[in-house]
Amino acid sequence: MSQPIAETQRATATEVSNQRRPGATQRQQQTRLAWLLLLPTLAIVVFVALYPLAQTIYQSFTDARLASGVAPKFIGLQNYSDLVRDLDFRRSILVTLQFTLLTVVFEFLLGLGIALVINSAFKGRGVVRTAMLVPWAIPTVVSAQMWKWMYSDQYGVINDFLGRIGLIDQPIAFIAQPNTSLAAIAAVDIWKTTPFVALLLLAGLQVIPGEVYEAARIDGANAFQQFLRITMPLLRPAILVTLIFRTLDSLRVFDVFYVMFGARQDTQTMAIYNQQNIVSFSDLGYGSAISVAIFLIIGIFVVAYVTFLKVEEA
């Protein structure tokens, strides 16, 4: 261990005075040291992510069971042809997509509004920014339980408040009713994640130089024109990064649904349906096929966003 480092040191030290000779060997030694430093990280990534991913793909073509001891049989595309006909999986995709659309749109619009408010200089701005970090920092499970209690049809504060101001006569079982449950759960995610979106967009707003607005004002642009012509175009990179992060997060949503609905069938997300098949039903082969499908669906979104990003830049 100490030997190659001592050599590198000599090579590096001599590089300053003697520029011609050591170039190649010094580069080689740097490369060797770099890979040595990367080795633990790469080993862990292979161990917990890449190898498991390869195994998942392989097992999706088998009838493997979890912890059964029986050797899995290769069954070709059987799992996939089952999956295509699986109405529960189809419903879980639909639920997930609806949830993703609702949350990403509202979080973006609300987050942009909040970011614009905070971006104007005022006293107490620090207080607002700090307050906004709090929902982001607490566990999703915790926020889900907090909201579940507030949603309670009998003793919940939301029903009580809506009743007091006369908006409803009957308490609403927000979580139990199919026509309100998705909106109710989206509201939890929107509450928890909008501050995060606002902070990301705020960071984007703050790198826009003030002189640009100054120039626009001198040219007679009003606030709305400034927003459309300056803020939005310059904020575009930050917006796209934020949308990518949020979409990917929403597509793999698990915690908030699991805590609020348990494994209730009509509101399973893709991730919950997958977890059920693997852990509860021990159906590793079929579960792996679902995993691959989820991976592909998320991949499609990534490719779509990245392509869009490239087109925008060109």
Binding site: V16, V45, R129, V142, W149, V207, Q275, I278, V279
Partner: protein, 301 residues
Amino acid sequence: MAQAMSATGATAPRTATAKRPKASSVIMRVLFYALVVIIILYTLIPFYWAVRSSFTPSGDLFRTPVQYLPTNPTLEHYKAVFGTGLFRRALVNSAIVAISVTVLSLIVGAFASYALGRFRFRGRTPVLYLVLSMTMFPQIAVLGSLFQLVNSLRLFNKLPALVLTYMIFTLPFTVWTLTNFFRAMPGELEEAAYVDGATPFQTFYKVLLPLAGPGMVTTGLLAFISAWNEFLFALSFTQTPDKRTVNLAIFYFSGSSGNAFEIPWGQIMAATVIVTVPIVVLVLVFQRRIIAGLTAGAVKG
């Protein structure tokens, strides 16, 4: 907070009000602060409700109309939560797992980031891409395989199973963020160290690592929070109550009241407050660092 608000009333927000007549500028200012107040209320009311419920006696909790302020606060829920021992255990479990994951990720990640941030070598760009794509990796896609991995290492229902599997999301994120910190450092420092005869390793831990301190704190905090908040793996890779993390404990509260019809909301709310407090303290103390760490990736793309 009331103080802050009244103090701010004196100074106008810098939103293009300079040329307008006074009356409309006052209205604008009022509307602006109304908006700010709405944002703060929206953010904090659910917490107020959790805190209020955690101090409300069970009798008042399940009574209508709902009281918005606690009239006779009680500690009964906190006593009940800490009385069982299982919740204390869960707190300890969560702390062990989150701290171990954070420390491991920082150590392993710092080496990799040093290489990626300060060295030029073949293969650097592919590795960076690998790390970046790993930060977006959907964990659910490897759930089954990780289950088998945990099983074959005989780690099922043991805390190390969580430490190992949490690395899948903490390590790539740590490497990515720290690489940016290392890359931002001026190169003259290293050259000076080399000229003075330091080895790359000495340069790393005597010159660069201390400089990376703030970056390590930021990254470590974010890694800690994400490990503390994790639910899917904890749910899947543990079985017995004594191995639960706080999130699991709070989730399973619902079923453990004895009376199936009455969920112990007072205790659940007390537990959520207990879990939230350390996180809120961390956030308040390190808010600047956290915001910097969170947004660094977004701005740089």
